[in-house]
Amino acid sequence: MNFLKRYIIPRLIQYFIVIFIGITVVFLVPRLTPLDPVVTVLNRMTAYGAQYLDPSAIEKLKETMMELYGLKGNVLEQYLKFWGRLFKGDFGPSLSIFPTPVISIIMNSLPWTAGLLITVALLSWIIGNILGGLAGYYGDRNWAKILGLLAMTIYPIPYYIMALVLLILFAYVFPLFPMTGGYSVGLTPSFSLEFILNVLKHAFLPALSLILIGIGWWFLSMRSLTSTIVSDDYVVYAQIMGIPSRRILFQYVMRNALLPQITNLALQIGGIFSGSLITETVFSYPGLGQMLYMAINNGDYNLIMGIAVFSIVGIATAALLIDLLYPLFDPRVRYR
């Protein structure tokens, strides 16, 4: 009970404060930029040859639209209105694709982003950490050194290039995989095996590009963590005692090394809501990253806020869960 009062409640308060600060910052920054959603839409209309004979007609349209978008009133008024709507669960209409509700735009792309990024995060975490642990423990073996060299070479390749090279190699030069989209044109989404296989085929290259870089990162960090633990007393003792290497590695060394890695994994999963812009661009893969980018370029305040709120809440929640569950993983940790 004491623990609850002294630790959990303050931690929860901190959680809400963090979300509050984050949302406020994301609310303010777009409004401080010269981007104006109404002007953007007007520009789009005039750029595509809207034939108004009298230029003063455009003037009136601007007024009408500001009303429509709820952009009248100063920043503070808009801020309070925003929170009012948020508590009702309403993110408002998108300003660049008026009046489609922001929430429906997000829900449309979210399954793709979540599916791809969560799978990628888990797969690369598992593979990367296992390989990294092995390489860190058996540091002197040749294969460990080769793996290390491979990771060190692949990880720093700029992601755009990696994605592009994979695309060109495996969708063009050797046309093994589709070049574009989440699924083939003309197929209707359903839970049939045909559709699922189609989705997997389309997701393969985007996932591969992300996993390769991901494995590089987890591998290297895990390896450095394990190599420091390897010299700890209890490990040496266990070796002397004759416990098989594999058991030492998996049950002693890695369990200790994994702690910071779990934190990072949670934060990474919490952060999927921003999508992966480059993956989506290069592979024409549906997702939230492009939505966010488009929202920024069009000054679409509501859509930016919508996605940002998801993202902020996601990461903050992940961090909160980690903090609360950490004592379960590491018995050494006590909170004052």
Partner: protein, 292 residues
């Protein structure tokens, strides 16, 4: 200091390799001051020439000599990365150490601030900020903005290490012997944190260069200033990959890889050298000739 470097150079192969490569890259960065071409000018050389004696790394589609352009790119990228890393490591480590050790309300306040920066999605805000400061954009400004987003990761991780250390015996010993907080944090805990700091330093440099590349690909960096990122941007703009102008697109990638390997190996060997636990191990090895 020099003796240490010489020592490491002789004994540790990783250090030797990393150090050498880094020195080469720094050398390349320095000779950029001798470059016969102003990196902002186009059409100072014929376009799209493959590497030759006159143009060591060939020329690109804007009529620039790639080799001299690259020297500027290395200089600018290194500078950008280092500046970002220095600022963010400094702030992040300090925050993490203090928050981890003191706990209680200080911890919560510091972590609230820390986490607020983590939860804000970095790429969108970076794009927004770049669009505001477009006129005054420069390497230094990019570094400062990037460090706004990279310091909190260090903060969190250092804090979690310290949380583990805090309960260890030597901490209690130090505390009971009357050491004050700052001294404990700096003299007892910092050495354990250093391996992590070094890894973080490297990663921040690389993250900074990577982020700058990402921003550059979207045209939001200082496009006229050569960096690894902007070189890739221009190469992609002119479809260097599909046109087979490999010398243009692969050189910045190769440099990025070499830079990473060099810095990484250096950091691994330095942190091994500094880490009290491995130092003991090495001392034991020297005395007893044991296999590690």
């Amino acid at each position: 200091m020099f003796l240490v470097i010489k020592d490491l150079y002789k004994s540790d192969k990783k250090f030797a390799f990393g150090f050498t490569v880094l020195m080469i890259l720094i050398f390349l960065a320095l000779i950029s001051f001798l470059s016969p071409y102003d990196p902002k000018l186009w059409n100072v050389a014929p376009k799209n020439l493959p590497p030759s004696f006159k143009y060591i790394l060939g020329t690109n589609s804007m009529g620039q000599d790639i080799f001299w352009n690259l020297t500027h790119a290395i200089k600018n990228s290194l500078f950008l990365g280092s500046l970002t890393a220095v600022i963010s490591i400094f702030v992040g480590t300090l925050v993490g150490l203090v928050a981890g050790y003191l706990g209680g309300r200080t911890d919560r306040i510091l972590m609230s601030i820390n986490d607020s920066f983590i939860v804000i999605p970095s790429l969108p805000i970076l794009i927004l900020i770049s669009s505001i400061i477009k006129q005054h954009i420069s390497i230094v400004l990019i570094a400062v903005i990037l460090s706004l987003f990279s310091w909190p990761w260090g903060g969190r991780q250092v804090r979690s290490i310290v949380l583990g250390l805090r309960e260890r015996e030597f901490t209690y010993t130090a505390n009971f012997s009357g050491m004050d907080t700052l001294k404990i944090v700096l003299t007892e805990h910092l050495p354990f944190v250093i391996p992590w700091v070094m890894a973080n330093f490297i990663n921040t440099i690389l993250w900074a260069i990577g982020m700058e590349t990402t921003l550059a690909i979207y045209g939001l960096s200082s496009l006229e200033t050569p960096t690894i990122g902007t070189t890739i941007y221009w190469a992609l703009q002119y479809q260097a990959l599909l046109r087979g102008i490999w010398w243009w697109i692969f050189t910045p990638v190769l440099i990025a890889i070499l830079l990473f390997i060099a810095l990484y190996l250096l950091s691994v060997s330095i942190s091994n050298y500094l880490d009290p636990r491995t130092r003991l191990q090495r001392m034991r090895m020297k005395e007893g000739g044991l296999e590690a």
